[in-house]
């Protein structure tokens, strides 16, 4: 999780496969698609999300907010899937 993004900045986040749902991550990338570019790949126990071209005009921490969305989506999906 980075601090406020610089122009065109990039970041990488690792989500443990046991704790984050792939669909939840995909939904979060869709929510934030206007503010950065996302690439998701599997790597061992983790989904690795490469985030680039972060929109520098947005106030706040896009990467950190994205992480919260991925968590909230995972929790919600797990509830809905029973």
């Amino acid at each position: 999780m980075s601090a406020a993004q610089a122009a065109g900045a990039a970041a990488t986040v690792r989500f443990h496969k046991e704790l984050y749902d792939e669909q939840a991550i995909a939904d979060a990338t869709a929510t934030f698609a206007d503010y950065a570019r996302f690439g998701v790949r599997g790597e061992g126990d983790h989904f690795v999300v490469d985030i680039s071209d972060l929109d520098s005009e947005i106030e706040g921490d896009i990467v950190a907010e994205f992480c919260n969305f991925a968590l909230a989506n995972s929790a919600a999906l797990r509830r809905n899937d029973g």
């Binding site: 939904d27 929510t31 919260n68 969305f69 909230a72 919600a76 809905n80």
Partner: protein
């Protein structure tokens, strides 16, 4: 996005908090099979618990510990208290509770009751916060046509609900008077065979009203609702009317219409023009004057509506907007004042509070669409645009006016079955369930709260929303907290006042 809760808490709004379980109980002592599923929250010095049936109790910390640890025994006061409130699992009467569930979830078994027809986008006011894509009075191309109106009414009558309310909105709906008039006559004619419980409501700024229109509306039992933002200078500052004084025009017609109701032999306590305020930044310090204005014009209820994130309201957020904390502080000041007026014998109440108390105290489900599960999108209401597009709700149409057709579920040319059974409707209904929200399932206010998917989408970019971060959740949880603190501290007179607020009766005269 941008809907986070970074603000500090309104100082005068009492807040509930997490129950300090770690200090109160030892998990090794828990007896989970004693209780039905429940949630809890600290309110003042007490702990309020609620269950999915809508029962609730205030417990002391000691009582709560004993409850969690399954210690109360039959015959003991605490056990009997818990049993009466349906918290003891072994004492639940399945048939009683199923009938109760059925009564409160009645709305699940029929289609939309509220059908909002936008007759035109034209308006002669330039209200700074207006939702809709308002155009000038010369833009008659934005009017709904007779043909579209008839198709819309035909569709509305296909609802499986016995009750059917056709609401006229705009723009200023009376600007398309011929179509309004035609819809009323056409629907009344249709109802001779359909035999629905039909009613009409008109949302108007009253500025185009004249005696002929009023005669028609009174004769056809059309309920009249309007917008009143408070005292004259505040109202006219926000609701800009170039052809005159909006406030004076409004009050003149309100007075005249209310007098006509009296002349018709209707009870003036029940029948009057319904007025609603929208709270803007200039309103925030003027809670007393706003309430006083409503009392002076004879209104018995004030619906303190927060500026919402749709349409023009979003564009003007910087000048008219405010944080949720600022609204909640305003709300607490206003309702504190309303309570004080009640203690002095003035009959006036606040709508949010009344709706919530109706659920909490009276065990009723008034089917208020913004506070029910699932939400009212599609299955509680439909919005009909002038071009014949059908939206999930008013709010869905507001989103469309911002260039996003996310909530357009079809058109008047579609069949009712296709609209109700379509994928869009199913998705909106599913998103409007709070059992899918991680925060809602563990919230003590779950049995009385609700969802609005359009709000989630607009503020958080997702139909499902994240309630912990949502101003929708914050607003409702805070008002519930406020009311729970009032109930916890209420004496018998206050309780009687709150019970009176829960009265919700049908205005028979407006049933066609």
């Amino acid at each position: 996005m941008g809907d986070t809760m970074l603000e500090t808490r309104a100082a005068n709004l009492p807040k509930g908090s997490q129950v300090a379980l770690a200090e109160l109980t030892d998990p090794a002592e828990w007896k989970p099979d004693f209780a039905v599923p429940f949630n809890q929250r600290t309110i003042g010095g007490k702990i309020v618990i609620s269950n999915d049936f809508g029962d609730w109790l205030f417990l002391t910390q000691e009582e709560f510990r004993d409850f969690v640890e399954g210690r109360p025994q039959p015959g003991e006061p605490l056990y009997e208290k818990l049993k009466r409130a349906n918290f003891v699992a072994s004492e639940i009467d399945f048939l009683d509770q199923s009938l109760r569930w059925r009564r409160k979830k009645e709305y699940l078994f029929y289609g939309p009751t509220l059908h909002a027809f936008v007759l035109t986008h034209r308006c002669n006011h330039g209200c700074q916060y207006c939702h809709s894509s308002i155009v000038g009075m010369d833009r008659m191309d934005t009017d709904m046509s007779i043909e579209t109106a008839e198709k819309g009414v035909d569709l509305a009558f296909q609802t499986t609900a016995h009750g059917l309310t056709i609401e006229f909105q705009g723009g200023e709906p009376t600007a398309n008077w011929d179509v309004l008039r035609h819809i009323v006559e056409y629907a009344r004619e249709k109802n001779k065979t359909a035999k629905k419980i039909l009613s009409f409501a008109l949302v108007t700024n009253l500025s185009l009203m004249d005696d002929e229109k009023l005669e028609f509306l009174l004769d056809r039992h059309v309920q009249i609702c309007t917008s009143l933002d408070g005292p004259e200078d505040l109202h006219n500052q926000i609701r800009i009317f170039r052809d005159g004084n909006s406030h004076q025009t409004l009050l003149t017609w309100m007075k005249k219409i209310n007098q006509r109701y009296v002349d018709m032999g209707l009870d003036p306590n029940q029948y009057r023009v319904e007025a609603l305020p929208t709270i803007t930044r200039p309103s925030l310090t003027r809670w007393k004057e706003i309430v006083d204005t409503f009392v002076e014009v004879g209104c018995r209820a004030v619906f303190l509506r927060k500026l919402d994130p749709f349409g023009f309201a979003a564009k003007s957020a910087k000048t008219l907007g405010y944080s949720m904390d600022e609204f909640l502080e305003f709300y607490a000041n206003a309702v504190d004042y309303i309570i004080e007026l009640n203690r002095q014998g003035v009959q006036v109440m606040e709508r949010h509070a009344a709706i919530m108390l109706n659920k909490i105290l009276a065990d009723d489900e008034p089917n208020y669409l913004d506070l029910r599960i699932p939400g009212g999108a599609c299955i509680g209401q439909l919005g009909y645009a002038p071009d014949g597009s059908i939206y999930s709700s008013d709010e869905g149409r507001f989103v469309a006016s911002m260039g996003d057709d996310m909530f357009r579920i079809g058109s008047v040319d579609d069949s009712y079955q296709d609209l109700m059974g379509g994928a869009a409707t199913r998705a909106l209904v599913m998103a409007g369930l709070n059992d899918g929200h991680p925060d809602c399932v563990s919230c003590v206010y779950k049995p009385w709260c609700g969802q609005q998917v359009e709000y989630n989408y607009k503020t958080q970019g997702s139909l499902h929303g994240h309630m912990r971060d949502s101003t929708w959740c914050k607003k409702h949880k805070s008002i519930f907290d406020y009311l729970m603190h009032k109930l916890e501290a209420a004496d018998e007179k206050d309780m009687e006042m709150f019970r009176l607020w829960t009265t919700n009766r049908t205005l028979d005269h407006f049933i066609v």
